[in-house]
């Protein structure tokens, strides 16, 4: 469809270029160059006469000027007219082919003929009809901006943010859910978890407080128990952490989806290297435990590829470096660290974050 428009445009352009060539007037009807010059010089003479009439120019000056202009006029009249060619110029007709020859390859390279326009208002109006998740999220956000106390709205948003890994937004949504609903261990734990994710897998103090609060409401709530133990571990309270993990493990059924993750975390505590990336772990937890390691590796490789294609993703770089160290691939971690530094050269903020991680992970 759009190609019909393009074809019509091209045809119109060619027609407009060809028209004067085909319909060209004969050369004799075009005035000689000298005629244009003479027109100007005659006008200059007339202007001089007007100046004299007005008295704005002295007689001697006027005479001198008249002499000069007259000489120009005579010179222009004596000029031999240049020969002009007329008739249909085949070269000029052939040259119009330049236009499509240049335009088509350029457009094929740069254009996106298959894409439609997406005007904002229309997109928002048809969000439901088109199942446009991004637009729906924006609509709910807009609604919540006006009605920040609408619990249902936050309940729609929170999992969507989670899915898109917009952890800061997810934390905000869960905070509102906690604020608007009766105390509930699950909601509070979700809030805490979002904070942890937003903090690159480290349990920050406010999140830890939330997990404690959740455990007060339901001492057996698994998510809160896990993160509580993890927080203790990250704070360096190794004995307490070990006790908490072991107690949690005792209550964990054999087929619980988080069991492998829990085991990995405990194993890791004995093995010593720093904490596994929570993001990776959270993803891993939903899979069966058997080929966890392989899956994690493939995910990390995927992340690296993503970053190669789209390097402006600081979170991604930090995750990649951490994951490489955790997996024991020191060389690869080193390479990722270097690449991240290069990517953000000039961005002092980002560099500081990367360097801090590098120090933690003993990279150079």
């Amino acid at each position: 469809m759009i190609w019909i428009v393009f074809a019509a445009m091209t045809a119109a352009v060619l027609a407009a270029l060809l028209w004067p060539v085909v319909k060209s007037k004969p050369a004799e009807s075009i005035a000689e160059r000298a005629a244009y010059d003479r027109a100007v010089f005659r006008d200059q003479l007339a202007e001089l006469d007007r100046d004299v009439e007005r008295g704005t120019i002295g007689q001697a000056e006027a005479d001198a000027a008249r002499n000069e202009i007259s000489r120009r006029l005579i010179a222009a009249s004596q000029e031999a007219p240049k020969k002009k060619v007329s008739g249909i110029a085949w070269a000029a007709i052939a040259a119009t082919l330049i236009v499509p020859a240049v335009a088509l390859p350029l457009y094929m390279k740069a254009g996106n003929p298959q894409l439609a326009d997406v005007p904002h208002a229309e997109r928002m109006a048809n969000a439901e009809k088109n199942g446009d998740m991004a637009a729906l999220v924006a609509k709910v956000e807009q609604h919540l901006e006006a009605n920040p106390d609408d619990l249902q709205g936050w309940q729609i948003l929170a999992p969507l943010y989670r899915r898109d890994q917009r952890w800061q937004d997810a934390a905000d949504a869960y905070r509102n859910i906690v604020r608007l609903s009766p105390p509930d261990a699950a909601n509070i734990s979700d809030y805490g978890e979002a904070l942890v994710m937003a903090n690159q897998g480290m349990v920050p103090a406010p999140a830890h407080a939330l997990f404690d609060e959740a455990l007060k409401l339901d001492p057996k709530f698994p998510k809160a128990r896990f993160y509580d133990a993890l927080g203790l571990k990250q704070e360096g309270k190794t004995d307490e952490a070990k006790a908490a993990f072991e107690a949690f493990l005792k209550d964990t059924p054999e087929d619980a989806p988080w069991r492998p993750m829990l085991l990995a975390e405990m194993q890791d505590m004995n093995a010593k290297p720093p904490a596994l990336d929570q993001q990776t772990m959270a993803d891993a937890a939903q899979m069966s435990g058997a080929d966890q390691q392989a899956m994690i590796r493939s995910m990390v490789d995927g992340l690296e590829q993503k970053l190669a294609a789209n390097p402006d993703n600081l979170d991604g770089w930090l995750r990649l470096i951490r994951a490489r160290v955790v997996l024991g691939d020191t060389d690869k971690a080193q390479a990722a660290y270097k690449k991240a530094l290069e990517t953000y050269s000039g961005n002092e903020d980002a560099l500081a974050q990367i360097a801090a991680l590098g120090r933690d992970m003993k990279l150079e």
């Binding site: 759009i2 000027a65 222009a76 040259a95 330049i98 740069a110 894409l115 439609a116 904002h120």
Partner: protein, 661 residues
């Protein structure tokens, strides 16, 4: 549904092909004397305008409908932005502003194609071909490195917003004017190169090129003035000109363009200064290309940034070398073949215009060095220095002062051989009035430096000199007033335009001198209810309130302005925080009178509930922009002169026997 954005993209790319055609076919046609090929250039120039206008309209459509499937819209717009700034956002960014650049270029090209019937066909074809080559270079630049029609799939839901500092009516409209000036110089350039190719520059050529140069000069004048007005009340620094490289980038072509419109007069009247005028035409456009390079390559924000992402900068640099180098080489090769023109004595109208040209070019050189030296130094040694107002005051000032003194005198000198004594005699009363103004300022001026009376006398000298020029032309008081009036209406418009523009320059100089010497600056911390004195005014901070705009929030401070217990106005100064970026801007509280502005800026909170306030009394500041507007009007008057409307010669096809060869 047909995608408007893709249609625009395709139109832009078609324009590349048409530009190539416009470059080659008429140029070859003019060389071979092929009428059909020369006429094809005319169609191509008009087509070029139509195609780029479609592209520009499509981009505007994407902005107005907030089509975030277009990357450029995502990066520079936001659905909550007021409509005006959605539209101005089109050129408020690099890619869109380049499209505006080529649109204006195409406008000029089409204007020559449509209104150039008074030009010989060969000349018109060659001018259009050169225009086509410029268009080709910049269209390729856009498509290759700065394509505004790059799409995003899937599109994000919201855009990043326009730099809030650019969300202002004056800024919305000053780039189009400035570009109309920059790009207008391309026509003078095209005429110069065409003349070099033809090997002929004569009085007729000068007459043909002059209106286009004048249009470019007018737009540059008004564009620079609007930019300075915007900086004055939007940036909140209380100043009107900062010798910023971006400002200098537009000021340098202005200086050379001013020289050019003066030297073209000499070519037209006396067939002299031809080579020089051709050189000026090349230089003027070269400087505007350089301005585009400086502003667009990112070299100004940081030499480092340019080195990291050199694609755009290198491309413009290549365009720069190609056009400047190419035209100067052509100049070196062909200029010696141009015949020298009329002779003149040193003291003559021509002589005075030569001095005008020299001073303007030297002053331009001073600005050039001050603008580029820090860049060169940073590139070579990494050392960052800033060349500020003191440098320019010391270099530009002394060069331009004698020029100002000479302006009225030059207008009174006769062509060929002038009589300075006679000129001064006819200017005597203007000189006396100017000295009186200087004396009055000297008497009233309690604290200003010695420059104040001198500067004001020069401003008065310019204004009275311009009046004297007109008075002499209409023989005021020598003949009955009615006759004088009749003579005035009969004067060539260009003569009136000259006087008006020179008087405007005087008004502008008065404003510049006044604000540089007598501005009052008060910086205080005020709590609500407290007052500060600014000159003869008292400004009372009445308090602040929260502020919610369409796409920003902030604080608005209220002030009452009193003069000796008489309440004059309530002023509001705002601090805005723009939503998508969180960037803060200030809105100045401005009280304008004919003799100056009271200018109030609410600053940050200090300890103890007070706010830092910056207040100025800027005397006669509006004279600067008023003067520039008068200069623009002078240009307009001059442009309407009948001699630019000499029609095309009618070809008496058979009557004029062509001599047998």
């Amino acid at each position: 549904m047909i995608s408007v954005a893709e249609v625009g993209h395709f139109a832009l790319i078609l324009a590349v092909g048409v530009a190539l055609y416009q470059f080659i076919v008429p140029l070859v046609g003019a060389q071979r004397g092929d009428v059909a090929a020369m006429r094809a250039g005319i169609s191509a120039a008009i087509l070029q305008l139509v195609l780029i206008a479609i592209a520009f309209a499509a981009l505007t459509h994407a902005y107005v409908t907030s089509d975030f499937s277009v990357l450029n819209v995502v990066e520079n717009s936001h659905s909550a932005k007021p409509l005006l700034y959605k539209i101005s956002g089109v050129w408020g960014n690099h890619e869109g502003s380049m499209v505006l650049w080529v649109l204006i270029l195409a406008l000029y090209g089409a204007a020559v194609a449509l209104f150039g019937q008074n030009l010989p066909l060969e000349l018109r074809a060659r001018v259009l071909a050169i225009q086509g080559s410029i268009g080709l270079a910049f269209l390729l630049f856009i498509v290759m490195t700065s394509n505004p029609f790059i799409r995003v799939d899937p599109p994000p839901i919201e855009g990043n917003g326009l730099n809030p500092i650019l969300q202002d009516p004056a800024l919305a409209f000053h780039p189009p004017f400035l570009y109309a000036g920059y790009v207008g110089l391309s026509i003078a350039f095209a005429f110069a190169v065409a003349a070099l190719i033809e090997g002929r520059v004569d009085a007729a050529w000068a007459r043909w090129v002059r209106p286009w140069t004048l249009v470019a000069w007018m737009f540059l004048t008004i564009g620079i003035a609007m930019g300075s007005w915007w900086a004055y009340y939007e940036l909140g620094w209380g100043g009107w000109w900062f010798w910023d490289p971006v400002e200098n980038a537009s000021f340098m072509p202005w200086l050379v363009a001013t020289a050019l419109i003066h030297s073209a007069i000499v070519v037209e009247k006396r067939n002299a200064l031809k080579i020089w005028t051709v050189l000026l035409s090349i230089l003027a456009f070269s400087l505007s290309l350089m301005g585009t390079f400086l502003v667009r390559s990112g070299v100004l924000t940081s030499v480092h940034a340019f080195a990291v992402d050199p694609e755009r900068g290198s491309f413009i640099l290549m365009i720069l070398c190609l056009f400047i180098g190419g035209s100067l080489s052509l100049f070196a090769w062909r200029a010696p073949q141009l015949k020298a023109g009329g002779l003149f004595a040193p003291v003559s109208r021509e002589g005075s215009l030569v001095v005008n040209n020299l001073l303007l070019c030297v002053s331009c050189l001073a600005v050039f060095v001050g603008t580029l030296y820090p860049l060169a130094l940073e590139t070579l040694t990494g050392e960052k220095i800033s060349v500020g107002a003191p440098y320019f005051d010391l270099t530009f000032g002394p060069i331009i002062l004698p020029l100002l003194l000479l302006v009225p005198v030059g207008a009174f000198l006769a062509w060929k051989r002038g009589d300075i004594g006679l000129a001064m005699k006819r200017l005597a009363w203007a000189l006396v009035l100017a000295l009186i103004v200087g004396a009055i300022v000297f008497a009233l001026n309690v604290r200003g430096p010695w420059l104040a009376p001198v500067g004001m006398a020069i401003a008065a000298w310019l204004v009275f000199g311009a009046i004297a020029d007109l008075a002499a032309k209409v023989a005021l008081f020598k003949v009955p007033l009615a006759t004088s009036w009749h003579r005035l209406t009969g004067l060539p418009r260009s003569a009136i335009g000259t006087a008006v523009a020179h008087a405007g320059l005087g008004v502008l100089v008065a404003g510049v001198i006044a604000i540089s010497l007598w501005r009052i600056e008060v910086i205080v911390a005020l709590k609500p209810g407290e007052s500060a004195a600014v000159g003869k005014y008292t400004v009372t901070f009445t308090g602040e309130a929260p502020l919610v705009g369409p796409n920003y929030t902030g604080k608005v401070g209220s002030f009452t302005l009193k003069e000796a217990d008489r309440e004059l106005a309530t002023l509001r100064s705002e601090k805005r925080n723009f939503k998508p970026s969180g960037m803060p801007t200030t809105e100045v509280g401005l009280y304008q009178t004919w003799h100056g502005d009271v200018y109030v800026v609410m600053g940050d909170e200090t300890t103890g509930g007070a706010r830092a306030m910056r207040m100025y009394y800027n005397p006669f500041v509006n004279f600067i922009w008023f003067g520039a507007t008068i200069m623009f009007a002078g240009g307009l008057l001059s442009l309407s002169d009948r001699r630019y409307r000499v029609g095309a010669p009618k070809r008496a096809a058979t009557a004029q026997a062509v001599p047998a060869e």
